[in-house]
Symmetry: C2
Subunit: 231 residues, 2 copies
């Protein structure tokens, strides 16, 4: 829920609807910036400029660049929480897992350039596994499974295989959407494939990607495996 500041950042209600700076404003702008320009392009100075302020002003609201990135990850996790949890009830654990998975996919696809951060930023707690790294979200997840009669051990197993599943599928998908920095590094000449006849022959099939379909099929399998307790 936002980035921790070292000490007492009291907020006695901003005076008016002023054009005033604000941690959440900064984080949201940072997310927007990464969405459009990519993580490497995000600098404190550019982000400041985007907000009409010098870079140094940001340090009043965010401890540093690393924590800024962590904050962006949290932001996406909050969005995920909105997508999947807001005012919902679920008929069965199957439908719950299905909707969770699709929710995570929605969040990932909305932010293909942020998702790698969600997937790879080292996290503080060893029991939060990417890409499911929000305490609130995981608590709710465990809660739902419990409400459907899953015992503790089983819930944890499901959490883990769920995380692995989502990580693999969604990172693969978002990696495909993310483009290389300009200029793109030469689309790889057909000549380069001379030594690799099979790849050359299959390059069309290999490029094709029915992500949604693959995702749904694998998800169905995962859920079946849970049902059979063969997980």
């Amino acid at each position: 829920m936002g980035v921790d500041m070292p000490e007492g950042t009291k907020d006695p209600a901003p005076p008016v609807a002023r054009r005033t700076l604000d941690q959440s404003t900064i984080l949201r702008e940072a997310a927007r910036f990464i969405d459009t320009h990519g993580r490497d392009r995000l600098t404190m100075r550019r982000l400041g400029a985007e907000l009409g302020v010098e870079a140094m002003a940001l340090y009043r609201y965010v401890p540093g660049r690393d924590q800024l990135l962590d904050g962006v990850v949290e932001l996406v996790m909050d969005e995920l929480y909105e997508i999947t949890m807001t005012g919902r009830r679920f008929e069965s654990w199957q439908s719950y897992l299905e909707q969770m998975a699709h929710g995570v996919r929605t969040a990932a696809v909305r932010h293909p350039r942020i998702f790698p951060l969600v997937a790879t930023r080292p996290s503080a707690a060893p029991w939060l596994r990417p890409p499911l790294r929000s305490l609130r979200w995981v608590e709710a997840f465990l809660d739902q499974l419990a409400s459907f009669g899953f015992d503790a051990e089983r819930s944890v197993q499901v959490y883990r295989s769920f995380a692995t599943f989502l990580l693999g599928h969604l990172l693969l998908e978002t990696a495909t959407y993310d483009e290389r920095p300009d200029p793109p590094p030469a689309p790889l000449e057909p000549d380069d494939l001379a030594e690799y006849p099979r790849i050359a022959r299959l390059s069309d099939e290999l490029s094709e990607a029915e992500f949604a379909e693959e995702f749904d099929d694998a998800l169905e399998d995962l859920i079946n495996r849970v049902a059979l307790e063969r997980l």
Copy 2:
């Protein structure tokens, strides 16, 4: 097979066993550096220092930092090729897939701080999917499957699900090994879990990780699915 340099880097055999610079020396040192200090710590200047040379000297052998990182990824892929392909023959496609998977895991675990790069660096070709992004390796993979009677479409399917599987499992595992930069960001107080009773109760189970076992179980499932053509 190394990073492309703009023009004619002829190599008329280095004079003697001199302490001379060299692209592969640079890439290997870079890999070593990331293994010990992490990607963010790697700078051209530090890498130069490590090699007893000024940063500017590196630009004779490597076009820039980005391509240096790509080169490191390639290096690990070459190591993977060594691990899995050198002078081997396989009894069945099952045993082939099994050994491939374990080979990739070995490579990943040897380089937990490089693996996220393998997993997330945008790649030139849309038909190379992380973490299997070496033309040579993929060609060999398709070749083996073909030799066991897989047709083109099916080989591609297997390649994809294999990639997804490895990406999910190994990124999760390596993410756990990678440590946060010093100082680690406060191991998360028990108090913080007050609002999350289920996580608090299960934190031990959630932290536990039988990666090898989970990996093997899921791999077995994947192979069974291939066998049943339910993939």
